[in-house]
Amino acid sequence: MVRDVAFGQYFPGNSLMHKLDPRAKLLCFVAFIVVIFFTFNYASLGVVAAFTVFALISAGISPKFYFKSLKVILFVVIITSLLNLFYGSGEPIWEWWILKLTWNGIHRAVFVSVRIVCLILLSSCLTFTTSPTELTDAIERLMKPLKVIRFPVHEVAMMMSLALRFVPTLLEETDKIMQAQRARGADMDSGNFIKRAKALVPILIPLFVSAFRRAYDIATAMECRCYRGGTGRTRMKTLHMGARDIVSFVVTAMIIGGVIVCNILLTSVL
């Protein structure tokens, strides 16, 4: 069923990772994800991989769910590492037809796959431990300076949280409509590409209609509660940076420093 998709799922919990201020968490993760792409030798790659493992452990979420999100991109990882494997530069150590295996290619393949895996694991870790509301709050606060250039920060954040809120609702709705059309003999599970695409019409049209209906309903409901945009709104739960958030900044800074030092001291293998 459609509901089995684990995209952006949030698992409530009480771990170190859960307790971090979402702003700090978001900033650290973004910084860290950038750093992943600045690893050019095995020492720095090792630092990055080790920290990824540390982050996952401190989130206290069953590895099962990480495997689930990895499964989705497994194909991408395999294709990109295969491409890298055979298109490296330098002396070939093995050759067959157009395929050339070089040490450079092997290194590239390892780096590319470790980088992608770390990237996916970390972003899963972020969504697993941060509720959608916390995440949009954090984005809203972090984007606040953009108000100076008249960027509608509050509106964008509100749109994001509404969108996230409706993901499960629309999934459920899709499921219901699919069942109803199946009951009328709609055949969605067989036939060629065109036939399958056509079979989506009886699902997509009712889904759009109901999405619009829900949009009107929620707009009315918001107006009934005197929603007037972001100006003058206060928060029920204000975000506070604490000691552990500062520690997380320091740790991230150290990782970045470590990676830079490794890059300066050791030669690049790529």
Partner: protein, 289 residues
Amino acid sequence: MSHILELRNLSFIYGKGTPFEKKAVDDVSLTIEKGEFIGIIGHTGSGKSTLVQMLNGLITPSEGQVLLDGKDIWSEPKKIRDIRFRVGMVFQYPEYQLFEETVYKDIAFGPQNRGLTGDELDKAVRKAAEFTGLRPDMLDKSPFDLSGGEKRRAAIAGVIAMEPEVLILDEPTAGLDPMGREILFSQIVNYHKEKGNTVLLVSHSMEDIARVADRILVMNHSHLAMLDTTKAIFARGDELETMGLKVPQITKIMQVLKAKGVDVPDGILTVDEALEVLSSLLKKEGKLW
């Protein structure tokens, strides 16, 4: 009469193998005869909807079998679509499944999937529209221009047009105004009378069920609690109340009258019946002419 549907130890478990595992239907066995009108009642979350969705193979039972005309519907999983044409299912708020440009095309969706073409298709569509009281001029309109009640009727016509042997309706009158409910309801009853098909009606309105059902199936906490004739079920009012259900108001009134010593028979289910009994009683006592 012969069995049209037979359920054998039917169970369904949601989210099997996860921490959210929940048994929605637990070991239900029963038989339904051809041409019967069955009412299905039960509190919210008692497993009614899950049960009926297993009858036409929309969901696969975790355990047990559904037999249609003596044959397991899952014996050939590739042919499950044929089962869905024979056991028609109208979901709650079916108007949300309308999608075509015109009402006609939307009603034709089901029978077309069944393989009807040309005159046969046209006949099926027009007949279904007539049964549900849609005027011929409405057939060329966009379904999105109809009123709420008309949309509902168009959606029900879409299922009836497949000419299913068994028709399942999940709360068909929910959210309609009293007039709309009354009309739709009598159309369903007429359909059952004329076609002689088996009808299963899920409803929260005991009054509606009391008026039309031959037998009532009561679900309680995923179990089959009772299956008996309408009179017999509503005679067990106390038990029904412990399940969060009720007997029709008029039945309750008559029961109270009887307890107070008025000489009325048991098992009065409709206002008309009660009127007849009470007026003849009053005539006998010379209080009404």
